[in-house]
Every structure is written in structure tokens, then in C-alpha cells.
């Protein structure tokens, strides 16, 4: 017992700070041993141990106060020194603010979009439901049907399943008509996502059946914007598509599924009996059952798919179902949502990190120079007994202040940049509405700033450890210190290597953008205004009535001065695929398996939007009520390779509607984006042609108006005409068609802008870094050069000497950067367009340009030094 208490006391005593132990430790231990010998009572020993512990705490608190006070003093001195060199301080803080701001901004995107779980309980258990149908040329995005939903919901691997769709409707609130985006979803969605409305209630199962009373749940944003946060909104009525719906709930502010533009939710009506497996018109989401895996769920679904023809014996598409090769594409919902964006964001983060490394290397060189100027003070401090922590504080104070100031400013820049990004309508990033600064981002900002400051201060601190002259002429040297020079040029190598990599990436993206800009979208977007009009089905109960209204509206608009041509379509180019099916060709033994998409268009559509007619003709008045079609070049090549399709007859494979006679062939148009690898074939039918079960009803039509002047200037007149035609029908998604084209390039533009900015910063930092290092090195060797000139050296030989000194670092940096760029090009692959393999022009131009700039930055100070007057240089 006595030995144990002695050991414990000794252990506590050794916990004192080192300085205290040196002064009192041994004596304290002997005193404790003497007082707490074998005869000491336990209570007495306990009092002694507690007093020792209190002494330890007191000493450490005192040590902390002293260290804090010392650090504060160093910080004040460093602040005064930095204030005395405003040019250096402002440029250093500015460089770090820009580079750290870029890093913080991009990290925020990565953290909030890719890394952070979705805001639902156990979000990792959510899976997206989808299918591929390779047999009909669909690698994915087939969607879900009512039949597959019914079958999958019964599987043991899922705890809950839901399907939903998003559409637009005309909404009438208190006599005010607007268009709004809404979601139709099965009531099971709340079980899948694990939410409950903030007020009121969600739909019950019965309300999700055909014929049930019409209910609606509002999103929080719509309740605020359309209802002014009315407290009595529950029980109120709003007309959706002309039908009255009772408002039964308001969702919580954080719930923005599947995206923030959805204004309200209505139940997806399920029929009493489902006889079809097909009808893949919905998106699906499910929650895995406890213990189930995505692979297991996928296997179960594929087993169901194989059995679909037996489960739906009345489905007339059973043969097509078998030949389509339908397979489950179930995957984690977050991965599906984020998609390719993750790779893009990680790349941007790497580029930002490279810029921060370059900025740090650049500033490290500058701090090394500053450190050399203060080296004598450091050696003095060490000589009079300053400890390692004190010397570290001396070396680190200035860099830490600069780094923390740069980090704080960078945080502000990142905040501003993210606000701008969120406001840009052309940027289509998933979960963008969830992007904002949070504690994790602020922690990264602080950590990055501290790390940068430590790195900036570490090299001067190491430099200060070398012994040297303490005399008054300690700063005055005839030649440079070799180790310091090697260190500075090593930093130049690192900067140039990183610069080459970032500039190469920017060059490849610029080539991709140039290639994308040259892609012909298949239509003319200049001087074209587009907007959508949806007619209420309660008022326009037949498709013919809707088509007639649209035709009359087109005719009325065409009379307006300033409008050259007016037309309408069920779906614009670059707006997605829409309805589609494989086609039967009259006379062919079996239908082809390639899916083509359907469009219903007005007479002047091709002329108005600038789609060229390649063969035959477009639609005109004679086609009213007729079974005719126009196909595009892709469809003609797929179904009639090498032959003229005009005059041939086709119809969608899954129905028995009359055959359509092809009267013309038009040029292809982009369906999803300008960089799609294959164009999707399209079949056009006249807006007032025969009504069919396959091609859309035409209640919602997208208008295209060719204007004589600026498209947006025509909007007020067009609105007036539409209102005159029907006061309760609003125009939606009004904008210039050129904006839609621009949006298609927006993703690449964003990446190119950020990487391009990083490239510009990289070049500036690299060039400035080389110049600064060489210029300082030349100033260090002024006396040496003066002596050389005095004894007969030519200015040219001095220039050559300086160039020779810098050449190895520059060449090595460019070579390393070129190799690094070649290795990392594969990471860019997904973002490039029209750039395959090694792009020689960029791979050569980027390193060559940096090599030339770096040698220019070396030559300039060398040339200045070669003109030094020997006498003035020797006088100092």
C-alpha cells in the first residue's frame, strides 16, 4: 500500500510543467516521501495527493496564461511588422483569400451535395427504382409502371415503396390563375421518406385510389408564396387543372422532394385493378427492409420481371416485355441523385487544392526571404535562452496572422460565390438548394488556414535554426546561402508542376467547350421565344377541343405585328424524351425494337423553329384529321436504311391505331443535351391530325414564336393575346429558346469557368513565384555580380549564369507537371466532349507556354542585374 501511494504521488508530481519540475520536482518528491511514509494515515495521504493534484492544475493554468500572454505579445509584434509592409501583407492575404476561398467554396459543394446524407431518416436505406430495357435500346431511365409498383411493393426486401411523377398544372387560387409544378405520388411516399407534414395530415391509403375525394398537400415554400402563410389554409380549396382540391396539410420547410420547384403534392390515383405490367411513366423510390441489401432487392425484382407475363396475362404487350430485356436498375437513391456530379466536384476540389498548394509554395518563398531578413533576431533570441516554443511562436506569428486573415476573407468570398451560384438559373446541380456554409465547412476553413500558416512558418523556422553571424553586418552577405536557394527553387518546381497540370486541364475543358459550341442542335434558337400553355381538362373535355383552341391561338398570335411565325409542339428539343415506343413498319414481319419518341406539332412548326425539311414536306391544312406523320433523319436511317421513307406507313408497335403515312423527313434535333452521343429518332404527327391513343392529347403545348426583334420584348403583347383568348389560362416557362440551348452547356461552362479561373491563378502564381525567387536571388548576389563585372565578365555571361541557376528547377517542374497532367487526364474523361485520348495541341501548348513564361520571369531580373554599375554595387 505504501509503495503504491508513493508511486501515485510521484506520478502526480511528474505531471507538473517541465519548468516547474526542473526547479522543484526532486525536492517536492523527497518531501512527499518523507511526509507520506509507511506510518501515514490514509486520510492524511489522500489530503497530500489532492494537494499535489491542485498544484498540477494551478501550474498548468499559470503556464497556459503565460503562453497565451507570450503568444499575444508575439502576435502584436507580428501585426506591427506586417502593417509596416502593406504591399506584401495585402498581396499575401489576397492570394490566400482567393485560393482558400476557392477551396472552401468547392468543399462546401462536395460536402453538401456528395458527402452529406440526404435529410431523411436512415437515408442510406433509400433506393431509387428504375429499369433498363436493352432490347429496345434503353440503357436506363425506363422508369416504373403501376404494375411493377404493385408487384415490388409486396417483396420482402423492401419496407415501403412509392412511385411519383412531376408535372405542371394551371392552379386557380381565389380567382388568380398561375402555372405551378406539382408531384403526384402514392400515399406510401411518407412511409418511404419518413416524414410527416408540419401541419395537417398526409394522404391516407384510400385517397390514393381512382375516384377518391381530391386532396392536396402544399410545400412550405408554396404555402408562403401563394397563400401568404395563411394560418387557416387547412380546409381551404384550390383548383388544380380546373378541379377543386381540399388542402389537408403543409409540409415541413426542409422537405423538398424530389426538388425545390415542386409546389404541392396530390395523390397518384391507383385503379382498382391493374392489368398492364407496362406503362413506365413514373419514378420510383423504396426503403429497404431491415437487413436487406440493394443487391438482394435487385435480384428479387429481376425474378419478378421474369414472371411479369404470367402475373399480367391480360397485358397485350407481353411479347414486347419479353423481347425488351427488362432488368432492374435499383441503386442507392443518393448515388442516383448525385450521378456524375460527384466526379466533377471531386475534380474541382483537386484543382482548388492544387491552387492552394501553389499559393502556399509561392508565399513560402516570400516568407523565406522575410525570414532571412529576420534571421539575426532569431539567432539572438536563441542565444539568450529562448526555448523551442518561443522560437516557434516568433517564426509562426506572421504566417499564421496572414493565413488566418486570408482564411477569414476566403470564407466570406466562398459565401458570396455560393450565393451567386445558387441564383444562377442555368446551373443544374442536384441538391443545390441544400448548399450553404455549415460548421463542417467553417472547421475546414479554420483547419486549412492553420495548416497553411504552419507550412508558411515552418521553412523560415527551420532556416532560423542554422547558426550564423550575430554581428551588426549579419544581413550583409556577398553570396547566397546554398541551402536556402535550393529550398526556394524546390518550391518553384512544385509551383510550376501544379500550374502545368491545372492549365492542361483548363485547356482540355476549353477544347470541349469549343467542340460543344460547334454542335448543331438541329434547330435555330436565335430570335425565338418559347412558353407553355396548359388547358384545363374539365373545360376542354376532348382532345379535339384542346387542339382547336391551340390552333386558333396560334392563328391569332400570327396576326400580331412583330411576330414572324408561331407554332406549337408537345415537347421542345432539349426538353427530354416524352412518350415513345418502337414502331411497326407496314409490310415488315415484326416490329423493330428501337424506341422512337413522339411529338404532336402545329403546321408551321418546322419552319418556325428552323428544322430543315430533308425530303417530302411538313404539315399543312390538308393534314387536319389525317393519319400522316413526318419522321426525322435518325428514324429514317434506323427503320428505312438506304431507302426513301416518304409514302411508307408506320405505327407504334403496341397498339392497333390506324397506320400513319410518312409525308416528309426532317433534320435531327437534340433530345436531352448537345453532347448526347446518339440522337433519338422522332415521329411527328399533326396537332389537328387524327387523335390517337399513343401520341399525347395536346392539352399542354409548348409554343415557339419567331420574333422580328428581341424575343422577350414580345412577351407583353403575347400575354395580352393569351389572356384575351382565355383569362384563366396562364403562360409558363416563358423565355428565349437560346437560353434553353445555353442551359445545355451550363454544366460544362461552370466547370470550365472554375478550372479556367484556377488555371489563370496558377499561371500568375507560377510566373510571379519564379520572378520573386530569381529576383531575390539576384539581389543576394549583387556584390558577386559586381565583382565579376569589375574583373571583365560580360553582361551576357551574367544573364546566362542566372538562367543556368534557375533552369533545372523550371525544366523539372514543367516535366513533372506534364507527366502529372498525362496521368490525371483520365479523371477528366467524363467531362470532355469531342476530346479523345491525348490532345496533342493542349499537351504541348500548356507546358510550352509555362516554360516560356518561366524563362521570361528568370531573364527579366537577370537582365536588370547585368546592367548594375559595379562601383555602386560594391559600395552597397
Amino acid at each position: 500500500m505504501s509503495a503504491r501511494r508513493q508511486r501515485l504521488g510521484a506520478w502526480i508530481i511528474r505531471r507538473h510543467p517541465r519548468a516547474f519540475l526542473r526547479a522543484y520536482g526532486d525536492d517536492m518528491l523527497e518531501t512527499f516521501r518523507a511526509r507520506c511514509g509507511p506510518g501515514a494515515r490514509p486520510a492524511f495521504v489522500l489530503r497530500e495527493l489532492l494537494a499535489l493534484s491542485a498544484s498540477v492544475a494551478t501550474e498548468w493554468l499559470r503556464y497556459g496564461r503565460l503562453a497565451f500572454s507570450h503568444a499575444g505579445r508575439e502576435a502584436r509584434h507580428a501585426g506591427r511588422r506586417l502593417a509596416g509592409t502593406p504591399a506584401f501583407t495585402c498581396s499575401a492575404v489576397g492570394i490566400l483569400a482567393l485560393s482558400l476561398g476557392l477551396l472552401i467554396g468547392v468543399f462546401t459543394l462536395v460536402h453538401r451535395i456528395v458527402l452529406r446524407p440526404l435529410p431523411y431518416p436512415e437515408a442510406d436505406r433509400l433506393v431509387a427504382l428504375d429499369h433498363a430495357a436493352p432490347g429496345v435500346g434503353l440503357a436506363g431511365d425506363v422508369g416504373m409502371s403501376l404494375g411493377t409498383y404493385r408487384e415490388y411493393a409486396a417483396l420482402p426486401s423492401v419496407a415501403a415503396t412509392a412511385i411519383y411523377y412531376v408535372n405542371e398544372a394551371t392552379v386557380d387560387i381565389d380567382g388568380e390563375a398561375t402555372r405551378a409544378e406539382f408531384m403526384g405520388a402514392t400515399p406510401s411516399l411518407s412511409a418511404v421518406l419518413g416524414f410527416a407534414p408540419a401541419s395537417g395530415r398526409w394522404f391516407v391509403e384510400e385517397e390514393g385510389r381512382e375516384g377518391a375525394a381530391r386532396r392536396v398537400v402544399l410545400t412550405d415554400a408554396y404555402w408562403r408564396s401563394a397563400f401568404g402563410m395563411r394560418p387557416d389554409v387547412l380546409g381551404a380549396t384550390m383548383r388544380i387543372g380546373g378541379e377543386p382540391h381540399e388542402i389537408i396539410g403543409v409540409l415541413a420547410p426542409g422537405l423538398q422532394f424530389p426538388h425545390p420547384r415542386v409546389a404541392f403534392v396530390i395523390p397518384l390515383p391507383m385503379p382498382a385493378s391493374i392489368t398492364r405490367a407496362a406503362g413506365f411513366n413514373y419514378s420510383g423510390i423504396a426503403r429497404l427492409a431491415p437487413g436487406a441489401t440493394a443487391e438482394g432487392a435487385r435480384a428479387e425484382q429481376n425474378a419478378v420481371i421474369a414472371d411479369l407475363p404470367a402475373r399480367f396475362p391480360q397485358d397485350t404487350n407481353r411479347d414486347l416485355l419479353r423481347s425488351s430485356g427488362l432488368t432492374s436498375l435499383l441503386e442507392p437513391y443518393q448515388a442516383r441523385l448525385v450521378g456524375d456530379t460527384a466526379a466533377t466536384l471531386w475534380l474541382l476540389l483537386l484543382a482548388a487544392a492544387a491552387v492552394v498548394c501553389m499559393a502556399t509554395a509561392n508565399l513560402a518563398n516570400l516568407f523565406l526571404v522575410r525570414g532571412r531578413l529576420r534571421a539575426r533576431e532569431g539567432r539572438l533570441r536563441r542565444a539568450i535562452g529562448a526555448g523551442p516554443w518561443s522560437l516557434a511562436a516568433f517564426s509562426l506569428a506572421e504566417p499564421l496572422i496572414v493565413a488566418l486573415a486570408g482564411g477569414a476573407l476566403g470564407l466570406a468570398l466562398a459565401y458570396a460565390g455560393l450565393r451567386v451560384l445558387a441564383g444562377m438559373s442555368t446551373v443544374q446541380l442536384p441538391r443545390l438548394h441544400e448548399v450553404h456554409l455549415d460548421p463542417a465547412v467553417i472547421a475546414l476553413a479554420v483547419l486549412a488556414s492553420l495548416l497553411t500558416g504552419i507550412v508558411l512558418g515552418a521553412l523560415p523556422a527551420l532556416q532560423a535554426r542554422t547558426p550564423g553571424n550575430l554581428g551588426p553586418d549579419a544581413q550583409r552577405v556577398a553570396t547566397a546561402d546554398g541551402r536556402s536557394v535550393r529550398l526556394r527553387f524546390a518550391l518553384v518546381t512544385v509551383q510550376l508542376a501544379l500550374a502545368v497540370m491545372v492549365v492542361t486541364a483548363a485547356g482540355l475543358l476549353a477544347r470541349s467547350f469549343a467542340n460543344l459550341s460547334r454542335v448543331d442542335p438541329g434547330f435555330v434558337s436565335d430570335q425565338r421565344l418559347v412558353f407553355e400553355i396548359g388547358l384545363p381538362r374539365t373545360e376542354f373535355t376532348t382532345r379535339e377541343s384542346a387542339a382547336t383552341w391551340h390552333a386558333q391561338t396560334i392563328a391569332r398570335l400570327a396576326e400580331q405585328h412583330g411576330l414572324v411565325s408561331v407554332a406549337a409542339t408537345t415537347r421542345l428539343p432539349l426538353d427530354g424524351d416524352g412518350q415513345g415506343d418502337p414502331l411497326q413498319v407496314e409490310g415488315a414481319t415484326q416490329p423493330s425494337s428501337v424506341v422512337v419518341r413522339f411529338r404532336r406539332v402545329s403546321d408551321d412548326y418546322f419552319k418556325t423553329i428552323g428544322i430543315p425539311i430533308v425530303a417530302g414536306r411538313g404539315f399543312d391544312r390538308r393534314d387536319a384529321g389525317a393519319d400522316v406523320a413526318v419522321v426525322d433523319h435518325t428514324l429514317a436511317s434506323l427503320y428505312f436504311p438506304g431507302a426513301d421513307p416518304v409514302g411508307r406507313r408506320v405505327r407504334p408497335a403496341s397498339d392497333d391505331d390506324p397506320w400513319l403515312t410518312i409525308v416528309g423527313v426532317v433534320g435531327d434535333t437534340a433530345t436531352f443535351s448537345l453532347d448526347e452521343s446518339e440522337r433519338v429518332g422522332k415521329l411527328y404527327v399533326p396537332m389537328q391530325g387524327a387523335m390517337r391513343s399513343d401520341v399525347g392529347s395536346g392539352h399542354e403545348m409548348a409554343y415557339v414564336v419567331r420574333t422580328a426583334d428581341s424575343p422577350l420584348a414580345a412577351v407583353p403583347a403575347i400575354r395580352a393575346i393569351v389572356r384575351e383568348r382565355h383569362p384563366g389560362v396562364p403562360m409558363a416557362r416563358v423565355g428565349a429558346l437560346s437560353e434553353i440551348v445555353a442551359r445545355s452547356r451550363a454544366g460544362l461552362v461552370l466547370v470550365l469557368t472554375l478550372v479556367g479561373a484556377a488555371g489563370v491563378v496558377a499561371v500568375l502564381l507560377g510566373v510571379v513565384g519564379v520572378y520573386a525567387v530569381v529576383a531575390y536571388g539576384v539581389s543576394e548576389r549583387r556584390t558577386e555580380m559586381a565583382v565579376r563585372l569589375a574583373i571583365g565578365a560580360t553582361p551576357g555571361s551574367l544573364i546566362a549564369m542566372v538562367l543556368r541557376q534557375g533552369a533545372p528547377a523550371i525544366v523539372l517542374g514543367v516535366i513533372a507537371g506534364t507527366a502529372g497532367a498525362a496521368l490525371s487526364t483520365s479523371m477528366l474523361r467524363a467531362m470532355l466532349f469531342g476530346v479523345d485520348g491525348v490532345d496533342l495541341p493542349v499537351a504541348v501548348a500548356a507546358p510550352a507556354a509555362l516554360l516560356a513564361l518561366a524563362f521570361m520571369s528568370t531573364w527579366l531580373p537577370a537582365r536588370r542585374a547585368s546592367r548594375t554599375s559595379p562601383a555602386m554595387a560594391l559600395r552597397g
Binding site: L29, A51, T58
Partner: protein, 105 residues
């Protein structure tokens, strides 16, 4: 000045001593009333050293090398004298006001 501080100065009045001896002297003179724990004692020694009232001195040749010896500085002597004068003044005041033990019997 705390009592412990004054007692440490008094213990060193006769000459240098190490920590244990100082503590033992205080305990003996106060008949066990004041028996500073090791931690408290060395805190007092550190404060008095920082204030310049005592200093560490070389140990006698025969002493255990682990022991650290402390001695009063001139400033420490003066501080102790001032404190004792103050206390004497208080005692005199108490006597005049008949608050001391002899007067109150």
C-alpha cells in the same frame, strides 16, 4: 500576506532550508495547527521565488543532491519585517482596546 507565506519567511529566518525542513518547522512552531500539504507548500515556495522574496541557493556539500535549498533575499527579509510590524501594531491596538486574552478574563 497569507499566514503560510509569513510562516515560510519565518522558517527561513535562521538560514537556508529545504522544503521538508521548512514544512516541519512550520508544523512544530504552530503545534500542528498549520501543517501545509506538499502541494500547497511548493506553490508558496514558487510564488515567493517569483516575487523575489526567496531564492534557491546551493545545497551544503553534505546534503542530499535531490534537495533544493531556499534562502531569504534582502527583499524577503524586509517584507517579513514589515508584516511583523503590522501584526505588532494590531496586537498593540487589541491590548489598548482590551481585546486580548489577558484583558478579557
Amino acid at each position: 500576506m497569507t499566514e503560510l507565506t509569513l510562516q515560510v519567511l519565518l522558517a527561513l529566518g535562521d538560514g537556508p532550508a529545504h522544503g521538508y525542513a521548512i514544512g516541519k518547522d512550520i508544523e512544530t512552531r504552530t503545534d500542528g495547527r498549520l501543517d501545509p500539504a506538499t502541494g500547497a507548500l511548493y506553490q508558496a515556495l514558487r510564488r515567493l521565488t517569483d516575487a523575489g522574496l526567496i531564492r534557491q541557493v546551493a545545497s551544503p556539500d553534505t546534503a542530499d543532491a535531490r534537495r533544493k535549498y531556499f534562502a531569504l533575499t534582502a527583499q524577503g527579509r524586509a517584507a517579513a519585517a514589515d508584516e511583523l510590524a503590522r501584526l505588532r501594531g494590531l496586537v498593540d491596538l487589541g491590548r489598548r482596546r482590551k481585546l486580548n486574552r489577558e484583558s478579557s478574563r
